[in-house]
């Protein structure tokens, strides 16, 4: 019952967040000086042309009506048609999303494989080689921007040592380098948190009790401490996954991958307003849903949170 109430409350918050984000996006678009229709139409357009584009963009009616329509669009999840290609925005997004999702999943899997074992090793053997290695890695991960890492990876593993292809997106091999570029920094965050959570758990009193009971170090570390530390790790990993969807915009550009990020970026270059709006709301909704799922998972793992 209590849990159900938590989910409902959290769900209402999710709706509210999406509503606020959409409102912010709406006003960012409308409040700025300049008429999108003029930008789209170009300098030599006639008044009729501009009027026609305004009608197509829906900017020919008062702001209040535009806002209501905008909310209606979001509820129905319908963002109209691209101004450049004329295809429905939803269709364009759905065509591109699988690639971005695959990339993000690969990135997070790589991140987890590196970060969690290294974080646990660092915490268990503090000030050992692994701990220093982990420290250096996490500092590097936070300092090296994903797009530069992507370029260096291409330079080393596609140009100098041709292990991976320079272009293309049809096989999984094309996604390995982008996934590393995307996962590298996120792994640094997960690593730091895993270490901190493990160190904290290992200093708890129940560990002393377990030791007094005569449990082996192995049991204490991996059965007791790791389990409890994982609660925080799962949360952070989930949030990092959400961030990857944003980070994919840049990494896709580096590797010329036709994912959601590139679609969005070209929409910006071409000032394709319906596609920009649809893209932003889509990513915002996915991001909010991921956070929602993470919160639910977190409360399942840690019942204490439901009360507060």
């Amino acid at each position: 019952m209590e849990f159900l109430l938590f989910i409902v409350r959290r769900f209402l918050r999710l709706i509210l967040t999406i509503l606020i984000i959409s409102t912010i996006i709406f006003f960012v678009i409308r409040v700025i000086p300049g008429d999108p229709a003029l930008v789209v139409a170009g300098i030599d357009a006639s008044e009729d042309d501009i009027q026609a584009i305004r009608a197509r963009l829906g900017t020919d009616v008062p702001v209040a009506i535009q806002y209501t329509r905008w909310l209606g669009d979001i509820v129905r999840f319908d963002f109209g048609e691209s101004m450049i290609s004329g295809a429905s925005v939803n269709k364009l997004i759905m065509e591109r999303f699988p690639l971005t999702l695959t990339l993000a999943v690969l990135g997070i899997v790589l991140g987890i494989i590196v970060a969690i074992p290294l974080g646990v090793m660092s915490a268990v053997h503090r000030w050992s080689f692994w701990d220093y290695f982990g420290m250096v890695y996490s500092q590097m991960g936070m300092a090296i921007p994903s797009f530069w890492l992507g370029m260096i990876l291409l330079l080393v593993f596609a140009v100098k040592i041709p292990l991976f292809p320079l272009f293309g997106s049809d096989s999984l091999k094309n996604l390995v380098l982008p996934a590393i570029a995307l996962g590298f920094a996120r792994a640094a965050v997960i690593l730091r948190l895993t270490r901190a959570a493990m160190v904290e758990e290992l200093s708890r009193e129940y560990i002393i009790t377990a030791r007094a009971k005569g449990l082996t170090d192995r049991m204490i570390r991996y059965k007791h401490a790791l389990r409890n530390a994982m609660i925080a790790v799962v949360t952070v990993t989930g949030i990092q996954f959400g961030y990857m969807l944003g980070g994919a915009i840049i990494v896709e550009q580096v590797f010329s991958l036709p994912g959601l990020g590139r679609l969005f970026l070209y929409a910006i270059y071409q000032r394709d307003f319906p596609l920009i709006q649809g893209g932003v709301v889509f990513i915002a909704v996915i991001f909010s849903l991921v956070n929602f799922a993470v919160d639910i998972l977190y409360s399942l793992l840690n019942p204490k949170i439901r009360i507060s």
Binding site: V28, Q139, W148
Partner: protein, 272 residues
């Protein structure tokens, strides 16, 4: 004990930032060549004794461009982080002291901004406000303000209940004076740590936006812009990609390190 070991790294990081700042200010004096003069006959020349880091696709000297590029990087860091602090502090103090209703409404807005991928928000804002350095700095400043708002609010709520605040209130000190002399000094430590980290993040976001062609516009030298050019000539001129990226990574690294060390000094409870 662990501190002593790390102090020299901290000192190097601080020294690096000071040198970078000096290089940015004195760029015309120390840059060996002009950052914008094109020498088509010398395009793509690899690093040698004249062009220490080689030249780019227009024959421009890369080292000089990196030195000049530090100007936009540091400018973005300072301006964006300051905008974020000012907005975040005001909102955080208001939420912390203004009672429940103000607190809930303000924090709902701030949390909504936080629940959005940073880079996407930056791209969206910039794409509508137009490309360029000013827009980028404002966008980054607004995007990172919720982090400060949350921090300041949490600290304010904690400090508010301290007995010296109660005492000061009982003495009839006006609220504004209480905020200035009691609350702000007490949360400054954590704000400074966050400021350092935000500085680094702002530099990365600016470089990313410039890389996408949405930030600094040519011919102004910017590290992100240099990397954008480098991408097209990865095979002919790899040095174009290597050096600006190193400059970027070392700068971010230095700021993060300073932030980490300060955080440790201010909060000894954190391990490592």
């Amino acid at each position: 004990m662990a501190f002593k070991k790390k102090n020299w790294i901290f000192n190097i990081a601080v020294l690096f930032i000071i040198l970078l700042g000096a290089a940015a200010i004195a760029a015309p004096l120390i840059a060996p060549h002009s950052p914008t003069d094109q020498h088509i006959e010398k395009r793509f020349s690899p690093p040698d004794s004249i062009n220490i880091m080689g030249t780019d696709n227009f024959g421009r000297d890369i080292l000089s461009r990196i030195i000049y590029g530090s100007r936009s990087a540091l400018l973005v860091g300072i301006v964006s982080a300051t905008i974020a602090v000012v907005i975040g502090m005001c909102v955080g103090l208001w939420a912390g002291l203004g009672g429940n209703i103000a607190d809930n409404i303000l924090m709902l807005f701030m949390d909504s901004l936080l629940s959005f991928p940073t880079i996407l928000l930056a791209i969206t804002v910039v794409s509508f406000f137009g490309y360029g350095l000013v827009q980028v700095m404002s966008a980054i400043g607004i995007i990172y303000s919720p982090v400060f708002a949350r921090l300041v609010r949490a600290e304010t709520l904690a400090i508010k209940t301290e007995s010296y605040i109660e005492a000061s209130r009982a003495l009839g000190t006006p609220i504004l004076k209480r905020v200035v002399i009691h609350i702000i000094p007490n949360l400054l430590g954590k704000v400074i740590v966050q400021y350092t980290i935000t500085f680094a993040l702002a530099i990365v976001i600016e470089a990313s936006l410039s890389y996408l062609g949405l930030g600094t516009q040519p011919p102004t030298p910017s590290w992100g812009l240099m990397l954008k050019d480098a991408k097209n000539y990865l095979i002919q001129a790899p040095w174009m990609a290597v050096y600006p990226g190193l400059a970027l990574a070392f700068t971010v690294f230095a700021f993060n390190l300073i932030g980490d060390t300060l955080a440790e000094k201010l909060n000894p409870r954190v391990l490592r």
